[in-house]
């Protein structure tokens, strides 16, 4: 057993040589993926990467700061349409439009986060649900700019003349941003703001009494969380080279929260595990659904997705409210303490 002797060691993200090795192996594995997996799996992995970015944002906002948001997809749509309009209508470069998308989503988050200063819990959920529907309605209203219900074709991103049109090049882009997003999240949580978020989540009144400005930190959490959503939304529409409101259904916001619950609230690993788990489940449903449709009834495919995702969240809430991360910690503890491991 090794002990941490100073503060820096205690706060380090990567604590021992084994973790460095695992990390490098993981990066090499990801980098090699496009060479030996099929297009379908590559698409799935890209989608997981985008979901991871988005869920990290939600994790900061909901998992760490305790401000429950069911309008996350609405903020993704803000980022997506900002980037889509800037690149398609004004011909800006993707590298300028991506930060603009992040900023626009962040500002939208600030506006709809304002009620959080007065309200919490269920009231905030309602405000964020309202935010989603108002954003989508606005997108549909301004048809001349956003394309409305017809959607808007979006160019693929370019780096110095090299267009990222292949699936593998886009895969690298998404993985790189997802990786950066993970590091940034980990680091935000080690700052003053990160600790303030956790204090607000645990007891906002006590936090305020301790001198944490609720006003400032709640809005910061909304801003940061929505910046992630904006980036994820922009990546999503540039991947499909098309932006439409159908890419941002309301229920997706619920699934992002579901990913947090399945993965484990208040943990960066949890956000990643949850995103992977639910996206894999989706993939399974899209494979099994059509087969079931053929055997049982035509509508089985549509209902299977809703029922399984709902059931997974229900089962996790009842049997493992701390999520996959908790299971992972138990497994890790088992091997760490072996041969004297004990239950729980």
């Amino acid at each position: 057993m090794k002990f941490y002797e100073n503060y820096a060691q205690d706060m380090a993200i990567i604590r021992n040589p084994l973790q460095w090795i695992v990390l490098f192996l993981f990066i090499i594995l990801i980098a090699l993926c496009p060479f030996f997996v099929t297009d379908r799996i590559l698409t799935l992995m890209t989608m997981i990467g985008i979901a991871v970015i988005s869920v990290h944002g939600l994790s900061i906002l909901t998992g760490f700061c305790g401000q429950i948001s069911i309008g996350h997809v609405g903020f993704m749509a803000v980022g997506a349409y900002t980037s889509a309009i800037l690149t398609a209508k004004l011909g800006w470069s993707f590298w300028v439009s991506l930060p603009c998308a992040a900023l626009a989503a962040g500002i939208a988050g600030l506006i709809f986060g304002l009620p959080s200063l007065k309200i919490k819990g269920f009231y905030l959920i309602m405000a964020t649900i309202a935010a989603h529907f108002i954003i989508i309605w606005l997108v549909l209203q301004f048809q001349s700019i956003t394309g409305g219900a017809d959607g808007l074709p979006v160019p693929k991103p370019k780096i110095w003349g090299f267009v990222l049109k292949s699936k593998s090049s886009y895969f690298y882009l998404v993985m790189l941003i997802a990786f950066l997003a993970t590091i940034v999240t980990k680091n935000i949580l080690r700052t003053r703001a990160g600790r303030a978020f956790v204090a607000i989540r645990d007891n906002d009144l006590a936090a305020e009494v301790m001198g944490i400005s609720l006003w400032s930190y709640k809005l910061q959490a909304f801003f940061i969380g929505c910046v992630y959503a904006g980036v994820a939304g922009a990546l999503l529409v540039h991947y499909f080279a098309f932006a439409s409101v159908d890419q941002f259904p309301f229920m997706d916001s619920v699934w992002y929260l579901g990913m947090l619950i399945v993965g484990g609230m208040g943990s960066t690993t949890g956000a990643i595990l949850g995103a992977i788990a639910l996206k894999l489940l989706d993939e399974l449903v899209t494979i099994v659904g059509p087969i079931l449709s053929g055997v049982v009834a035509a509508q089985a495919a549509a209902s299977l997705g809703l029922i399984t995702r709902g059931l997974v969240i229900i089962l996790f809430l009842i049997f493992e409210p701390r999520g996959l991360t908790h299971r992972w910690e138990i497994i890790k503890a088992y091997f760490k303490l072996w041969p004297f491991s004990h239950e729980e």
């Binding site: 309602m126 009144l205 009834a297 549509a302």
Partner: protein
């Protein structure tokens, strides 16, 4: 002027149904402190049940309502027992997520059983057209109005005069006192879910008669939330008042403003705009109690 009055009257009738649906939400919230996001999906199930009983089985309206109440009781017991009871004592987010997951499962079941198709039973209900002056009240909203008033009256009497109703009100007031008096809190929770299912399903039958049933009928839930927030989450009278106000406002706003907006759809977002305004300026609604928190 006639156009305006027409809008107001239809809005009033629809608002009463919204109030009925919102009541289910308020009752659960008061008794068990759970926010039921799935309320709109009870309405959806209700609409499809109405179609099944009225059209597929060809039953009269009174038998439909009785059967609907019976199914609502079964549904309420199952939901409370299987999903909400294990979560007693868990944080608010867990309970809210549970009801959201429940709404997803209910929507999946509705899609599976009824195919997610547009079903309508327009004209199956008895026609009661009423004319006051120059305004005629359409038959279906009028039936909706009458049935909602009857059910709301029954509920108010139930809360006032029966033992169970008193127990439920007492639980809303103070859980510990109630338990020390020998009232089983779990029974109270179960009953509150049953009542919420009943009002949701009956609301669904009534709304389905007006506009037909399809998966988006569940969005009535959104309207019910707006009603509840406007009236104050823990006030039954507030829910009824706000339901009527919101029904009228929505109908009038949609009637006058939709032609001005290029793509319409204002009735769809209107409740959400009301919600944001209420949440920013008067978070506890018109008649809600402000809760004072202590550390």
């Amino acid at each position: 002027m006639n156009f305006f009055l027409q809008l107001v009257v239809t809005g009033f009738a629809l608002g009463m149904v919204y109030a009925l649906v919102a009541l289910g939400f308020v009752i659960i919230l008061k008794c068990s402190n759970a926010f039921n996001i799935a309320q709109g999906h009870f309405v959806l199930i209700g609409g499809y049940l109405g179609y099944t009983f009225l059209v597929v089985f060809g039953l009269p309206i009174w038998a439909t309502i009785l059967l609907a109440i019976a199914s609502a009781i079964v549904m309420g017991i199952l939901i409370e027992r299987l999903t909400l009871r294990p979560l007693i004592g868990q944080p608010e987010l867990a309970i809210i997520m549970m009801t959201i997951a429940l709404s997803s499962v209910l929507e999946g079941l509705a899609t599976f059983i009824w195919g997610g198709e547009y079903k309508t039973y327009h004209g199956v209900l008895p026609t009661l057209s009423v004319k006051i002056g120059g305004i005629s009240i359409p038959s279906e909203p009028f039936i909706g109005l009458i049935v909602s008033i009857i059910i709301v009256a029954i509920l108010l009497l139930f809360f006032r005069y029966t033992k169970m109703g008193l127990a439920m009100r007492a639980t809303a007031e103070d859980l510990q006192v109630v338990q020390s008096l020998g009232i089983k809190a779990t029974t109270v929770y179960a009953i509150s879910w049953i009542v919420a299912c009943i009002v949701g399903i009956i609301g669904g039958i009534l709304l389905g008669a007006v506009s037909g049933v399809m998966i988006p009928l569940a969005e009535v839930g959104g309207k019910a939330f707006a009603v509840v927030l406007l009236g104050g989450v823990n006030s039954i009278g507030g829910a009824i008042f706000a339901g009527i106000i919101l029904g009228i406002l929505e109908n009038v706003a949609a009637g006058y403003l939709d032609p001005l907006l290029p793509r319409g759809g204002l009735a769809h977002v209107f409740p959400f705009i009301v919600m944001i305004i209420v949440l920013v300026f008067k978070p506890h609604g018109l008649f809600g109690l402000e809760r004072i928190e202590r550390i």
